[in-house]
Amino acid sequence: MSELTAFRTQAKAASPALSPLLPLEVRGLRLGFGGAPVLDGLDLRLGASGCTMVMGPNGAGKSLLLKLLHGLMAPDAGSLSWNGSPPGQATVRQALVFQKPVLLRRSVIANMDFVVRARGVDPARRDHLLQEVGLAHKARQPARQLSGGEAQRLALARALLTDPEVLLLDEPTASLDPASVLVIERIVAAARDRGTRIIFVTHDIGQARRMADDVVFLHRGRVAEHSRASAFFPTPSSAAARDYLNGKIVV
Amino acid sequence: MLTSRFLTSSALVLGLTGGAMAQDTSILVQSTTSTANSGLYDHLLPLFTEKTGIQVNVVAVGTGQAIQNAQNCDADVLLVHAKPAEEKFVAEGYGTQRTDLMYNDFVVVGPEADPAGVTGMTDAEAALAKIAEAGALFASRGDDSGTHKKELALWQAAGVDPATGSGDWYRETGSGMGATLNAGIGMGGYVLTDRATWISFDNKQDYTIAVEGDTDMFNQYGVIPVNPEKCPEVKIEAAQDFADWLVSAEGQAAIADYTIDGQQLFFPNAPQS
């Protein structure tokens, strides 16, 4: 882990001109697909460090928000700024882990090597990450034959290869068994401890409790509540978040 | 641009640069099909190559296409059987000179049933007129070949315009002699063919020669070296060697020697000096 920190230091030293990506400023974000807008004037400000858990009922716009933050989509209206940079310019300094891992039809290590080559990463980092996610012994296996948990760990290791300043996770553990969930959470927590900014979408309230520094609760395309974790779980301030935490369906 | 990339890459793939045509000792003959399909070249060419070291490559197509290809300079020697077209070829400067090489004759072949009742006739014009009158099926080359030109001349002499029966009793296959024989036999129609192709043809079924022996069905083959003044890349010396050998006593004897089942296919008649 200390070696990984060493890589980070090198990477930072290599690009001294870059200012940090955080804070994030989102104002009046709007996006729809013909009918009612999915995001309807969303405002959000995220600070420099920690793990932000994004929660909310289905259709609240969580996944869409992640793609907008990552620069994979453009909003209909509103502004989105990573400390002055538009999302498209920030993409390369971030990584996104999808709910369904998208793995190449190659071996585990070839999936890593693809990014190593494409993005000019130190190959030693690849070996450390495979160790960290517990896949070093499966390096030569076809990635598409991994179990669901293993596949998502590989996707996470691949996302961490480029040492992203911001790691976006879109329900990465939604269909995994509890043991795999804990492994993923441990790796994400370790990344946060090394200084990576985490933005983590989840439906799993227990996971949110374990991971959150702060919680953003989305409802009907807006931020219904943004609170410290220590306040959100015992005393949610919005009625929607309260109903959600009590297991009542909120639409 | 694209084409040159094709060229370079395919040459790389195959390790070919120009192929065998680039050899000085090979010439290209544009030939009528009958001489090739009957196996005459398989008999003649080894003799010539052994004597001179010149490799002869034969492209066998209809006489019309052979002349066209030679006019495009894609030949060193032309060997076909349509005297008027050959003389025009020379007159327009594409050939150095035309020499009679050999002959055989055309025959009309027909099915055993003989729907037009022409079997045994020796008058080609009368037989064709009878076929037209009976409306019996007739398969024509329809491809501007030497055989096709001869057939059209015979129809004209018979006073019949077969075009009026086109698609009805007169079927133009637009293909080579063998393909036309296959088609004609398949539909039970009469076919005009050169005797060499017929003798060597393997798919005769119940067909036999119905009409033969008319002097109008005489089939003369000629040989013409392509003129280097029109086509600078012609290997005129080798081409002339080949033409000279064919009409020499030795070449003529070799032609006469070629038989299938004891039947002579071509009769040499080059003017001997």
């Binding site: 999808f98 039809r105 190659r106 993005r119 | 192929g19 894609d74 063998g178 296959n182 393997d202």
Partner: protein, 235 residues
């Protein structure tokens, strides 16, 4: 129809007793059509990959043209190449007419649209699965194309076989630009056409069976080379 049984025993006899002529013809067929397939893949696969990922004005028109060119008649291709390579044509000075190289060129033109159009479809489907991940990784278009071509390699092998099948089976183009010259440019299909025109239908059919057997062997060999571990397991 005793022609069939005759053809079968003749085909067997041809293969067993062979004779250098048959092997030469088979060898040239393979050389020409495999050569054309390789060149067509080198041109068609990148083109297919490019069109699969690129969005530009006129793309739909290009797709229609590419798909239509799959139906290019071999004899038309042969004629076009003949006019270029003829000694009186613009490329006549190369002296390529009536050579195996000319046959490779004609077959390459014939099957490049097939390789391009079919690979475009295969790679576009694959790209639908990968596109967001690739954009997240900020890949350059060339890197995307490379990744698609490599990951689609098994489906693309079938595309290549389709191209090879078309090339090795066509007669119209090689007849015109090759000339069916004995011991120089005679391949399986032109030999079959020749024997048919000689009326030797059993021999023609027997050669056809040999060609079919050749296609079976090649497809079987490719199938055997394909690793068993290439089934999609997790989605």
């Amino acid at each position: 129809m005793h022609t069939f049984t005759e053809a079968f025993s003749l085909a067997l006899a041809l293969i067993l007793t062979g004779g250098s002529d048959l092997y030469q013809i088979v060898g040239l067929s393979l050389q020409v059509s495999l050569g054309a397939t390789l060149v067509a893949c080198a041109l068609g696969l990148p083109l297919g990959a490019l069109v699969a990922i690129a969005r530009f004005r006129g793309r739909n028109l290009l797709l229609i043209v590419m798909n239509a060119l799959m139906g290019l008649p071999p004899v038309v291709v042969g004629l076009l190449v003949y006019l270029q390579l003829s000694r009186s044509g613009p490329l006549g000075f190369l002296g390529l007419l009536y050579t195996p190289t000319a046959m490779v060129i004609a077959q390459t033109i014939l099957i490049t649209p097939i390789i391009a159009a079919l690979s475009r479809q295969v790679l576009e489907d694959l790209h639908g699965e990968y596109a967001e991940q690739f954009r997240s990784l900020c890949l350059r278009p060339a890197q995307v194309m490379g990744a698609l071509l490599w990951d689609g390699r098994h489906a693309l092998l079938t595309v290549g076989l389709a191209g090879f099948g078309r090339a090795v089976a066509e007669v119209g183009a090689v007849m015109i630009v090759g000339g069916n010259i004995d011991h120089l440019t005679r391949v399986m299909t032109t030999a079959i056409a020749l024997e048919t025109s000689k009326g030797d239908l059993p021999l023609a059919l027997a050669l056809g069976l040999v060609l079919l057997g050749l296609a079976l062997v090649i497809n079987g060999a490719v199938q055997a080379l394909r690793p068993a571990a290439q089934r999609p397991v997790h989605v």
